[in-house]
Amino acid sequence: MEPFVTHAGRAVPLRRSNVDTDQIIPAEYLKRVSRAGFGEGLFAAWREDPSFVLNQPQYAGATILVAGTDFGTGSSREHAVWALTDYGFRAVIAPRFGDIFRGNSTKAGLLPVVLPEAAVIALQDAVEADPGTEVVVDLDNRVVLAEAAGIKAPFEIDDYTRWRLMEGLDDIGLTLRHVDDITAFEHSRPSWLPVTA
């Protein structure tokens, strides 16, 4: 996983709430068996509308998505995260995220940033007024900055997830350091628990 320490880029305002993962990547795109190329399916239905925000040339090349509340609800498809990163996004900012989407993001190097609704709207207003506004997502200091617009919004993220993202660590490798604990636990499990074999 690519480490995430701090990222500076331009941002896209997506003024919609309840953006479910079916919208982020429709099911038709989930038939692939690799992790690559999902960017072309990102918001596939909405991108057919020429006025959709991702189709507006002033936001081309933006790397931060600023969305309404309850972003990434619904299906557990990690393909939604892969679609966003493949398209070029490094961070998504919203007032609230679907739990599974948020977890998937932190496993795949996309930073989900929870900011209060007022801060999200201020960021959306700022990048609509000037699409060139530089937005800095600083994970090290847990703050989102848009200095030109006078925005400085601290965010919370637990120490462990922050450390893992900043180091770009592989969860499986971390867990396997404790394989003896897993084996010991397995010896303590009751014998009547179900097996599939």
Binding site: N18, D22, A27, L30, T73, S75, G103, N104, R189, V195
Partner: protein, 477 residues
């Protein structure tokens, strides 16, 4: 201080706990299907890792599979050649990848046509693998279904699927707990589906985020196992990764004698343990929501998220009636997508398609309920109706009871098991502009096919709607 059901299961599965880190949680059962697993198996291969516990892992083919052209139950369908049901080579490739991966890594698989094939969340309970007190995961958000038997079950992404395959554990933050207490009794004609739609409408699609929901109260205790499965299934539509119902005699009666349920002395040992699981009387929840079942009526969705639901007897809402600006904007978008006008009676909404099936409502009890409405009646000429059993075993049971004959006599299509029209990944889809009454779980834009419009309903409302051609309850017939 007393502990909750969720807390007890959690505590019994902590492999390792350290200050400032998520708990490492042991996973008792890992369910796989073809969509969210191929990249996880690739990851194992790339790192030269094995599946740690193939004996705690089981796979089925469900999301991509066609529901026609399958000869079973008992005759596995081939991927290629004249006996293959596939018309989409991309879907076939994904199913083929699952078959190869399961063979390579030694995982039990129920392929299309197999007598035990079906939707992953239907076959787990049916085989008796889903049991009280277990931790269960699957790369599918409707894993919450299994909580109906008192198992802590939640959906995960593909990176986590790989993690569980490799380690049989997951690092997880301990969730908060929310009690959903449903007092009273559901009135005649009001179902578990209506209840969960009413709960989601009350707490919202994000209301359960960060929580495990525990459904409690007299109305929950009175539900059959099928009803509890329907309720827990849609916990994720309220934002909660998991929903739970405490195990009781309904649970034990459901499990006893199933293929993977304990038997003999093991059954007694299991029962002793299961009876310790319900939340203690003095347990505290982080939040509680209380509903009165007696006030409920059949519910249907009018919008594009499952929280946008109302009693069937009401009208399409006016977006201006929403005080919250985000909710107002969402309602405006939803009405535009759904092509509905404020004030229109929900009963006046005409549909083209009726779908009975899915992990929400694809069990034998659901099919019986739909058949009871259709018996002696006919599907309206303007409507196509698909009835898709949740598993091949459900299909066989329905045929033994003659339900297939009721459906076909009424003009409905009787299919093989799979996710079918719930999610638009297989040939069963809505066309752009088509409108359905569907017993599935998501009315998202394009969920059942690009441009399709979905109204979520119970099996009873689905069947009545098929007869009249517009949203209706059996009492309207």
């Amino acid at each position: 201080m007393g502990r909750t059901l969720a807390g007890k299961i959690w505590d019994a599965h902590v492999v390792r706990s350290a200050e400032g880190e998520p708990d490492l949680l042991y996973i008792d059962l890992h369910l796989l299907h073809e969509v969210t697993s191929p990249q996880a198996f690739d990851g194992l291969r790339a790192a030269s890792r094995k599946v740690r516990r193939p004996d705690l892992t089981i796979a089925t083919e469900d999301h991509n599979v066609p529901t026609t052209g399958i000869t079973g139950p008992g005759i596995p369908a081939p991927l290629y050649g004249p006996g293959s049901p596939f018309t989409d080579p991309v879907s076939r490739t994904q199913v083929e990848a699952l078959r190869k991966n399961c063979a390579e890594f030694g995982v039990r698989l129920h392929p299309m046509g197999d007598a035990d094939q079906g939707i992953v969340h239907v076959i787990g309970p049916q085989l008796g693998l889903t049991q009280p007190g277990l931790t269960i995961v699957c790369g599918d958000s409707h894993t919450s279904t299994h909580g109906a038997l008192g198992a802590l079950a939640f959906g995960i992404g593909t990176s986590e699927v790989e993690h569980v395959l490799a380690t049989q554990t997951l690092p997880q933050q301990r969730p908060r707990t929310m009690a959903i207490t449903v007092n009273g009794a559901l009135p005649e004609g009001v179902t578990a589906k209506d209840l969960i739609l009413a709960i989601i409408a009350k707490i919202g699609t994000g209301g359960g985020q960060g929580y495990v929901l525990e459904y409690r109260g007299a109305a929950i205790r009175a539900l059959s196992m099928a009803g509890r499965l329907t309720v827990c299934n849609m916990s994720i539509e309220a934002g909660a990764r998991a929903g739970l119902v405490a195990p009781d005699d309904v649970t034990f009666e459901y499990l006893e004698g199933r293929a993977h349920a304990p038997s003999g002395a093991s059954w007694e040992a299991a029962l002793d343990y299961w009876r310790t699981l319900p939340s203690d009387a003095d347990a505290t929840f982080d939040h509680e929501v209380i509903l009165d079942a007696g006030t409920l009526t059949p519910y249907v969705t009018w919008g594009t998220n499952p929280g946008q639901a109302l009693p069937l007897a009401s009208s399409v809402p006016d977006p201006d009636s929403f005080a919250d600006p985000a909710a107002r904007a969402a309602a405006e978008r939803a009405l535009a997508y759904m092509d509905l006008k404020p004030g229109m009676a929900l009963r006046d909404i005409a549909v083209d398609t009726v779908f009975v099936g899915s992990c929400t409502n694809g069990r034998i009890e659901d099919l019986r309920a739909a058949a009871a409405v259709l018996r002696g009646r006919h599907v309206a000429p303007s409507v196509r109706m698909l009835v898709v059993p949740g598993s091949m075993a459900v299909r066989a049971q329905a045929e033994q009871e003659g339900l297939d004959a009721v459906f076909t006599a009424a003009g409905a299509q009787w299919r093989s098991a799979g996710c079918s029209m719930c999610l638009g990944m297989n040939p069963d889809k809505l066309s752009a502009g088509e409108r359905s009454a569907s017993t599935s779980n998501r009315n998202f834009e394009g969920r059942q096919g690009k441009g399709g419009r979905t109204h979520l309903v119970s099996p009873e409302v689905a069947a009545a709607t098929a007869v009249t051609g517009h949203l209706a309850a059996p009492a309207d017939l």
